[in-house]
C-alpha cells in the first residue's frame, strides 16, 4: 500500500489522467442511470409505487391492459385469493381547462387497497405536475366525453403512466367517460397464481407490458452496460501499459525477495484509490444533477443506484486491473537483470 501510494505520488500525471477518465465515465454512467430511472418513473411511477405482488389481466388481452376486461367471476377469484386485492383501470385521454386548453391525462379508477387515492363522484385528483400548469384545488376541469365538469379535489406526488400525468377519478365517472363498467387489472400484494382465464404478472413483468417501457429501458441499460465494459477495458489497458513499463522493476523486486502477492496488492490498492477518488466527485455531480435538473427533465438518482454503480465500478476496476496484472506473474528476475535499468 505504501509502495502503491509512493508510485502514484511520483508519477502523478499518469494516475491523474486515469482518475479523470474514470471520473468522466462514472459520471456519465450515473447520469444515464439517473435518466433511466427518471424515464422509468415518468413512464410507470403509478405501478412502481405499488408493493411487490401479482397483477392479473384477462388471458385473452394478450398482455395489453387496454384489451383486458375482468368478468365478475374473475374478480371473485382474485378476491378469494390470499392477500389484499385492488382493481383498477387505466385509459389515456385528455383534460380541458377553463380556456379549453388540452392536457394529456391517464385516467385511473380503482377499488380496494390504499395504493390510489379515493375519489368521490364529480371529483378528480391530479398528479402534482398539473399544479405547475396553474391548476388549483377547487378548479373545474372538463372532458369532451363527460357532460359535467370535474372538480379538482387534490394533488398527488409523482403519479405518471406512459409519460402522461395521471388523473384519479371515481368509477362512475370513469364508466361514463369510457363506457366501461368492469376493471382491466387486478392486483394482490402476494404471489398467487390463479385460474386459467387470468394471466398473472409479477411487478417487473407487468411493467414490461406498458408500451415502450421495456424498449426504452433496454436501450438505456445497454448504454450503461457498455459504459461498464468500457470502464473494465480502460482499467485493463491502462494497468497493462503501466505494468509493461514496470516489468523490469517487478523483476528486480522479485529478485530481492518481494512477494508476488505484494505486487498485486500494490496494483489493487492503486486501482481502489483511483476508483474511490474518482467516484466521489462523480457521485457529487450526479446528486447535483438530481437536485437541480430542469423541471421537464426526468432524472432520478436514488441511493440504491449510486451504491450499485459504485460497487460495480470497484468490481470492474478490480477485474480489469487483475486481468492486466497477470503480467506480474510473468515478470522474471533474470530478464529484468539482463535488461538493465535505473
Amino acid at each position: 500500500m505504501k509502495m502503491a501510494w509512493k508510485e502514484m505520488k511520483k508519477f502523478k500525471l499518469r494516475y491523474l489522467i486515469l482518475g479523470f477518465i474514470v471520473f468522466l465515465i462514472s459520471m456519465l454512467t450515473l447520469s444515464i442511470s439517473g435518466l433511466a430511472n427518471g424515464l422509468s418513473d415518468d413512464n410507470a411511477s403509478l405501478i412502481k409505487h405499488m408493493p411487490d405482488g401479482t397483477f392479473y389481466m384477462d388471458e385473452e388481452a394478450e398482455d395489453n391492459y387496454s384489451f383486458s376486461s375482468l368478468t365478475t367471476e374473475q374478480e371473485d377469484e382474485i378476491k378469494n385469493a390470499s392477500g389484499q386485492e385492488t382493481f383498477f383501470s387505466i385509459q389515456m385521454g385528455e383534460l380541458l381547462d377553463d380556456d379549453d386548453k388540452k392536457f394529456s391525462t391517464a385516467y385511473v379508477t380503482s377499488e380496494g387497497g390504499d395504493y390510489f387515492p379515493e375519489v368521490d363522484k364529480g371529483e378528480i385528483v391530479l398528479d402534482s405536475s398539473f399544479e405547475g400548469e396553474g391548476f388549483e384545488v377547487g378548479d373545474e376541469v372538463s372532458n369532451s366525453l363527460m357532460e359535467e365538469p370535474l372538480t379538482i379535489a387534490g394533488f398527488v406526488e409523482q403519479q405518471k403512466f406512459s409519460h402522461t400525468e395521471v388523473g384519479f377519478i371515481n368509477k362512475e365517472d370513469y364508466g361514463e367517460m369510457f363506457r366501461a363498467d368492469t376493471f382491466q387489472i387486478g392486483f394482490i400484494d402476494d404471489e398467487v397464481d390463479l385460474g386459467e382465464s387470468l394471466k398473472s404478472y409479477n411487478n417487473s413483468d407487468f411493467l414490461n407490458t406498458i408500451p415502450s417501457y421495456s424498449a426504452e429501458q433496454m436501450s438505456l441499460n445497454m448504454i450503461i452496460i457498455f459504459l461498464y465494459v468500457i470502464s473494465a477495458l480502460l482499467f485493463a489497458i491502462f494497468f497493462y501499459m503501466i505494468n509493461v513499463q514496470k516489468m523490469s522493476t517487478f523483476g528486480i523486486l522479485k529478485a530481492i525477495g518481494v512477494k508476488q502477492s505484494s505486487l498485486f496488492v500494490m496494483m489493487w490498492s492503486q486501482m481502489l484509490l483511483i476508483t474511490i477518488v474518482s467516484l466521489i466527485p462523480a457521485i457529487v455531480a450526479g446528486l447535483l444533477i438530481n437536485q437541480f435538473a430542469p423541471e421537464g427533465m426526468p432524472f432520478f438518482l436514488p441511493t440504491e443506484t449510486i451504491t450499485f454503480s459504485a460497487i460495480a465500478f470497484i468490481i470492474i476496476g478490480f477485474l480489469g486491473a487483475t486481468l492486466s496484472g497477470l503480467q506480474i506473474r510473468k515478470a522474471e528476475p533474470m530478464q529484468a537483470i539482463n535488461q538493465g535499468g535505473m
Binding site: E7, T249, I252, K254, I256, G257, A336, G340, M342
Partner: protein
C-alpha cells in the same frame, strides 16, 4: 569453513532441437567472510553460475548447500524468503525502484527481509554514511549519478545484514575511478560486516580486492587461486 557450496551443478538450455550445456559439473565453495571473484571470458558461464547460486534461476542438476542445508529442493516461497533475508544482490546496473527515494529503497528492503528494528532510521543513516550517500537520502534514482546509483544499490544489498552478497559485474557500468570506489566499498563492508561475497568480474584490476579467484571456461571451473 564454507558457508555456501555448489556441488556438481549442471545447466542446460534448449536451443531449438539442440541442447546446450552451459555449466558442466561445477563445484564451488565460498568461505565465510571471503570475497570470491569469478572470472572468465564471455560465455564461460560465470553469470549463469552466480544467478543459479543466488537461486534466481533453476539449475538442471546438482546441489546448492547454504549453511550445510540443501536449499535447491526448497519451495519457491522458501527460496524467496532466503533470497530476501539471507542474500544481497548487486547487479551490473543499479536496478533501483524509480519511484522510491534512496531511503525508501532501503526501507523496502528491510520490510521485505522482515527485519524488525526499533531504530530503522538509525540503521539506514549508518548504512548511507558507509556508502557516502547521506546527502542523497531523499533523492530519487533519476537525480543520482551512475556511481551514486551503484552505491545506493550496494546500500540496499547490505541494509538487512545478508550472509552472502552476490555481485554480477558491479563495476561494469562505471569508470575506473568509480569502479575502484565501489570495490573498496564492497571489500570494506564485507570485512566489517563479515559478509561472504561472490562477484563476477571481467575487470582484472578488480581482482586485487578478492580473497580468492575462480576461473571459468566453457562452463567449467579451470582454476582456483
Amino acid at each position: 569453513m564454507s558457508v555456501f557450496e555448489l556441488i556438481d551443478i549442471d545447466k542446460e538450455f534448449k536451443n531449438g532441437r539442440n541442447v546446450e550445456k552451459i555449466l558442466k559439473s561445477v563445484d564451488l565453495k565460498l568461505k565465510e567472510g571471503e570475497l570470491t571473484a569469478l572470472t572468465g571470458p564471455s560465455g564461460s558461464g560465470k553469470s549463469t553460475l552466480l544467478t543459479i547460486a543466488a537461486c534466481l534461476q533453476k539449475k538442471s542438476d546438482g546441489i546448492i548447500k547454504f549453511n550445510g542445508q540443501d536449499i535447491s529442493k526448497e519451495s519457491d516461497g522458501k527460496i524467496r524468503n532466503i533470497r530476501a533475508e539471507k542474500f544481497g544482490f548487486v547487479f551490473q546496473q543499479a536496478h533501483l525502484v524509480p519511484f522510491l527515494t534512496v531511503k525508501e529503497q532501503l526501507e523496502l528492503m528491510l520490510d521485505t527481509a522482515n527485519v524488525k528494528l526499533d531504530k530503522k532510521d538509525r540503521k539506514i543513516d549508518k548504512v548511507l554514511e558507509a556508502v557516502d550517500l547521506s546527502n542523497h537520502k531523499d533523492s530519487y534514482p533519476e537525480s543520482l549519478s551512475g556511481g551514486e546509483k551503484q552505491r545506493a544499490a550496494i546500500a540496499r544489498a547490505i541494509i538487512h545484514d545478508p550472509e552472502i552478497l552476490f555481485a554480477d559485474e558491479p563495476t561494469a557500468s562505471l569508470d575506473s575511478k568509480r569502479s575502484k570506489e565501489v570495490m573498496e566499498l564492497i571489500k570494506s563492508l564485507s570485512a566489517k560486516l563479515g559478509i561472504t561475497v561472490l562477484m563476477v568480474t571481467h575487470d582484472m584490476d578488480m581482482l586485487e580486492y578478492a580473497d580468492s579467484r575462480v576461473e571459468m571456461k566453457d562452463g567449467q571451473i579451470t582454476a582456483v587461486e
